[in-house]
Symmetry: C2
Subunit: 380 residues, 2 copies
C-alpha cells in the first residue's frame, strides 16, 4: 500500500473511527484501525465487536494494500504532523509515514487478524432526514440504563411504520418517547412495521458521528444487525457507515404505563423550574428526594428539600394550574433529565395522583413525552 493524503482529511477520519476503540487487553487487535484501499478511496475501519465504523476518503492511491495500526496512537501522532500532504506506505507489517521533515515507522499487526466488518450491500434500505433523526434520538438516548436482568430495556427501541418513526427508552423509573414524522412513505420496501432495539453505545456514537450532517441517512436492516450509512456526494462510496448488532428480546408494552387521565394540569416556565430543582437538589440527600407541591390557590409550584446535615431549601415558581392541590416527591434527577430534553420555553407538567406516574412535555410540540414515577415520600 502507498497513498498520499492531506493531513486534515486523515485526521478527520481517524477522529471518527477511534471513537469506539478502547483498551482490550484480551483482544488487542480491537485497539487498531484497519486502513485499506478501494479504487481511489482510502477506507478506515474500527470495531468493538458490537459496533463497527467504516469510512471512506477520496485520495491518491499509488499502490493498493492494507495495514492495521494502533488507532489512538496513530491518531495522536497524525495530529502532531504539519498541515501538509502525508505519504503513507506499507512497510514491515507496519506503516511508514512521511510528512514534511517527519519520517516515521509505526509498528502494526497482520491485517488478516482484523475482524470482518459486516457488509449489507444487497439489502433494501429506508432513507430519513439525518438531522431530524439524530436530534430526536438525542432527546431519548440518555434515558436508557444498563440492565443485566432486563437487557432489552438497556437499549433504544425504534418502531418504523408508514410515515412515522417512534424512538423510546426507559430505565423503569422514567420513560421517554419521540415521534418523528417522515415525508413520503417509509414502508415502500416492506409491508410490515419494523421494530428493533439498538444498544445505547452505538446510538450515542451515531449522534456524535452524524449529528451535524445535513442530508439523508440510509438505514439497512437485517435480523440481528443494523447499518446507518451517510452518503458522499457524487461518488460511488458512502462517507461513513455505523453498523451495530441489535439487542434480542421483546421490548415491554410501554404504552400501557403512559397515563391518560390526570388530576392536575400545570404549565410552567422551563428554565425557572429547572433552576429551582437544581438548587433544591443540593439539599436532596442520599435518595435525591425533592418534594413538589402544586398550589392552585397561590398559582405556583413550591419546591422543597431537606437534608439533616446541610439544611433545607424552599422556593416557588409561578404556574398556570388546573385541578387539585397535590404534593408529590421525586428523585430530582429524573425531573431535571426530562426538563433538559425539552427545548420549549414552557412545559406541561401533568400529575395523575400522589404516587402515580406524571408527565412532562413541551408546550406546542406533541412529538415528545416524558413519563416519570414519583418516589414514596419519606418526609412528614
Amino acid at each position: 500500500m502507498k497513498v498520499e493524503i492531506l493531513k486534515e482529511n486523515l485526521k478527520a477520519g481517524l477522529n471518527i473511527v477511534e471513537k469506539i476503540v478502547g483498551k482490550n487487553p484480551s483482544l488487542p487487535i480491537l485497539d487498531n484501525v484497519l486502513i485499506d484501499t478501494e479504487d481511489s478511496f482510502l477506507s478506515l475501519s474500527s470495531t468493538d465487536l458490537e459496533t463497527a465504523i467504516k469510512l471512506w476518503i477520496l485520495t491518491k492511491i499509488v499502490k493498493k494494500g492494507k495495514v492495521v495500526v494502533p488507532a489512538k496512537f496513530f491518531s495522536n501522532f497524525v495530529s502532531l504532523l504539519p498541515n501538509e500532504k502525508i505519504v503513507l506506505e506499507e512497510k514491515n507489517q507496519g506503516i511508514y509515514v512521511e510528512c514534511g521533515s517527519f519520517k516515521n515507522q509505526i509498528q502494526g499487526f497482520n491485517p488478516e487478524e482484523f475482524p470482518l466488518i459486516p457488509e449489507f450491500n444487497n439489502l433494501e434500505f429506508i432513507e430519513v432526514d439525518n438531522r431530524k433523526f439524530c436530534q430526536g434520538l438525542s432527546q431519548i438516548v440518555d434515558i436508557a440504563a444498563p440492565s443485566q436482568s432486563r437487557p432489552e430495556i438497556s437499549g433504544i427501541y425504534f418502531i418504523f411504520s408508514k410515515n412515522l418513526i417512534k424512538i423510546v427508552a426507559t430505565d423503569s423509573f422514567r420513560l421517554a418517547e419521540k415521534n418523528i414524522m417522515i415525508e413520503g412513505d417509509l414502508r415502500d420496501f416492506s409491508k410490515k412495521e419494523i421494530s428493533f432495539i439498538l444498544p445505547q453505545k452505538p446510538a450515542r456514537e451515531l449522534i456524535n458521528i452524524l449529528g451535524e450532517k445535513e442530508g439523508k441517512v440510509k438505514i439497512y436492516f437485517s435480523a440481528s444487525q443494523i447499518m446507518f450509512e451517510f452518503p458522499m456526494k457524487d461518488t460511488p462510496r458512502p462517507q461513513v457507515q455505523v453498523i451495530s448488532r441489535l439487542i434480542e428480546g421483546e421490548y415491554p408494552n410501554y404504552e400501557e404505563i403512559i397515563p391518560k387521565k390526570f388530576k392536575t394540569h400545570v404549565i410552567v416556565k422551563r428554565d425557572e423550574f429547572l433552576n429551582q430543582i437544581k438548587a433544591a437538589a443540593l439539599f436532596s440527600g442520599k435518595i435525591n428526594e425533592i418534594k413538589i407541591k402544586v398550589n392552585p390557590q397561590n398559582k405556583e409550584l413550591e419546591i422543597f428539600a431537606q437534608d439533616q446535615g446541610l439544611g433545607e431549601s424552599k422556593s416557588s415558581v409561578p404556574a398556570k394550574i388546573e385541578g387539585e392541590e397535590m404534593e408529590v416527591s421525586f428523585n430530582y434527577k429524573f425531573l431535571s433529565d426530562g426538563l433538559i430534553n425539552i427545548k420549549s420555553s414552557e412545559v406541561i407538567f401533568d400529575l395523575s395522583k400522589e404516587e402515580g406516574p406524571c408527565i412532562l412535555k413541551p408546550v406546542g410540540d406533541a412529538s415528545y413525552i416524558y413519563v416519570v414515577m414519583p418516589i414514596k415520600s419519606t418526609q412528614a
Copy 2:
C-alpha cells in the same frame, strides 16, 4: 449577622476562597468558609493551615456577626440563585439565605472553632507590579516537584535584592530562573537581601487569584510566613490577601550548576522544535527518551526516538549552529516544559557536553534561563 449583597459579588468572592478548600475528614472545619462583617465590608476567609485566603466585599451590613458554612456547598448553591440581591442572615448556627423566590437554611459550624487567619498589620511591606510578578512566577512554578527528602526544593525560591527579584525552582533534573527588574528601590525598608522558599501550592494559587489584576501587589514578610495583598481602590480594606507559611531550610546554591561554557550554540524556531519533540515523544518509551543530534553541516537539529513495540520517529528542524556536532539524549518532557515557558519565537539551545547540563533561553530576553540535564543514552 444580616447583610445584603449582590449575587455576582458573593459568587466572585466564594470562587476565590473555595480554591484552597478540600476534603478534610480529620479536620472538617477546614472545608468551610468564615463569613464575617467589618464596618461596611463582608469578609470571606478560608485556610488549609498552610495557606489562608481572605477577601473583602463592600456591601450593606444590616447587623454585625459571623457564620461558618461549608465553602463548596455554599458556593455551588449561590451559583444557582438568580442574579439578584441576596439577604444572608445568621440563624441557628447556620445561614438563612433569601433571594427572589428562594428561601434556604444552610447548616453551619461554630465560628469560634474556625482557625485564626494570621494578621500582618504592623509590618513593613514592599510593592511590585502585580502582573509582571505573576507572569514571571508562572514561568517557574511548575518546575518544582514534591520532595520528601529535600523539602526545600519542593518550593519556589525568591530573592529580593536592591531592584531585582529572582524566582527559582528545580526538581534536580532541571532548573529555571526568572529575573524581574523593578523600578525604584525594593530595599528601602531593609538593608539586607531577603530570600524565602514559598510552597508550590500557594504559589500556584497566587497566579490563579491575582494573575490578571492590574496594579501593585504588596508583599509582607515575617520569619515563617508571607502575605501577598492586593488593594481595593479608595477603601480602607484590601481586595484580597493570600497568606502562606514558608518552607524552612536553605535553598541549594543553584548558581553553581548553571553552565557558563558551551561547545555548541544553537538558535531554533520554538514552535517547530516543540512540535517535533511532541511527535517524537510518542515513540519515547518508558523513560521518555528522545535523542537530539546537532548537525552543523546540514544546519539542522535531528530528533530521533524509538520504541520496540510502537516504531520509530525521525524528524529535523533547520537551525543556526555554531560549534561542534553533538548527540544528546533527553527526557522529552524536560525539554518541552522549558520550551513551553519560553514565549519568544526563537530559542537559544546551548549544549556543554554529551552528558552535561544544557540551556534553553529566549532570544532577545535575558531574564529567563532554563537548565536541563541530559539522560545517559541507552540507544546504540
